[in-house]
Symmetry: C2
Subunit: 279 residues, 2 copies
């Protein structure tokens, strides 16, 4: 499928996608930092999670989503999922002329600027850690840095169960983070979009001397910069009655709406279900 | 797609499917109880889990899998996933003439026979509990029984992380099970195929007076009976060199093989990846 258009319409929406609800933490930052923009969000709730799956599968799923978002004539696509950014972004960029931005590179950049002792920890899904993508980006920016990755597969289910402040989450976080503490890191990248939701637990365990880097925030900042450079930043809010934020999912919308409303305070009026495998 | 054949070939394989690896606990029981049978196992590892997804999505996925298994001319299909049995079995049976057996009915039957005080607990995924399917089957068999359902969404990730014997699994199990203990149940159905793997934790917490019902075991027993009644029980083992057990998955095979080999001791020689959404 080829969709042709020029990505020069400042009124065009921004496409944002994730394996499910986690990317809403990125969408939330975009809403905060560039509040005039329209957003089309897609969460692949029928096939979530991505973080334990293979490069082939995550890339195949992500390509379908890019084809879906293309139908909205989006002016840019934000890959608001670390695993999809790690595994698929390069191939997505080769297949489409829509400008794209992932969450990994902005997070890597911020961490490489923040660290003072050159010891950076990354916590993420098995897939993201296995890809060593954070290592690659950070080392490109700063050769004198050492990166320590740790997969934390139980954080996503714990967050999705709402155990954001809970002794069990504390105990699991202690186990995952103890080796990073022993390694004397001074910077920790929250390399999965769910992790900012347990930021206070992570911060408490790591201690005050460790800076937590939230790629969601950095991505929204970089997105704003990129749109600004291209003259694509929307300078006025959508007209009254225009639907600024639209949400699509691959499973039914009810559960998504509940979780989404706990993250985004703008009110998610509706979410529509589509069959993503048809794209 | 219509595939026509008579389901009367005793040498035909049995199709077994699950959302991922959990159904291997059912396949294992079939291997033990009717060791002459050939099995085609499909695990939907690209789209796992099912237990937090909707009836529509689980049914759509299950239909694709039945179409895939049909291509092997299977003599019967075992829906080795509680969520798929709860949500999709009725519709699958309407669409196919292959005899099918789910894991819910055999588990319900065993529990209704085992209980003495008429108080049965069911632990399962959100989807299975929400469907109230165990209640429906058990009440059909025995009107004097009360069923108490409890969704335990963290058990699957804990099992898949290998925390079968762990203080965190103990703590989470205590929380999930405490109300069932207070309700004085004497029978507990392990209503998700992963749960038999933490059977000893569950048994310890529930205490000696509570009987744990494993639907995997009951399903293999019922399958043997059903095949016997139809004259379809294979009376001799497959020829040397014949591939008795074949495994298919929708994501890459490596991770599946590792987990599978921790459950099944027969040695999983190979697993093949297929694109299930094309069926």
């Amino acid at each position: 499928m080829t969709v042709e258009w020029n990505h020069t319409d400042i009124n065009a929406p921004i496409g944002v996608f994730d394996s499910g609800v986690g990317g809403l933490t990125v969408a939330r930052e975009i809403m905060r930092q560039i509040p005039n923009e329209k957003i089309i969000y897609f969460g692949d709730t029928a096939r979530v999670p991505y973080g334990s799956k293979s490069r082939e599968t995550v890339t195949r799923f992500s390509k379908q989503i890019v084809r879906f978002l293309s139908t909205f004539q989006v002016k840019t696509i934000v890959v608001a999922c670390n695993t999809a950014s790690a595994y698929a972004l390069d191939e997505l960029e080769r297949e489409s002329d829509i400008p794209m931005i992932g969450v990994v590179k902005p997070g890597a950049k911020a961490a490489s600027e923040v660290t003072r002792n050159g010891r950076i920890g990354v916590i993420a899904t098995e897939a993201t850690i296995g890809s060593k993508i954070y290592n690659q980006y950070i080392t490109e920016l700063n050769k004198d840095v050492t990166i320590y990755g740790k997969a934390c597969p139980l954080f996503v289910p714990l967050v999705e169960e709402g155990l954001w402040e809970d002794p069990v989450t504390d105990e699991i976080a202690q186990r995952y983070l103890s080796e990073l503490i022993d390694l004397d890191i001074d910077t920790l990248i929250l390399g999965c979009t769910h992790y900012p939701l347990i930021r206070s637990t992570l911060g408490r365990i790591m201690g005050e001397k460790v800076t937590l880097v939230n790629p969601a925030y950095e991505t929204a900042r970089e997105l704003k910069e990129m749109l600004g450079e291209r003259g694509l930043l929307n300078d006025h809010a959508p007209a009254l009655g225009e639907n600024q934020y639209q949400f699509y999912v691959s499973d039914t919308a009810d559960k998504f709406k509940n979780f989404a409303n706990s993250i985004i305070k703008y009110g998610i009026l509706s979410a529509k279900t589509i069959h993503i495998e048809e794209y």
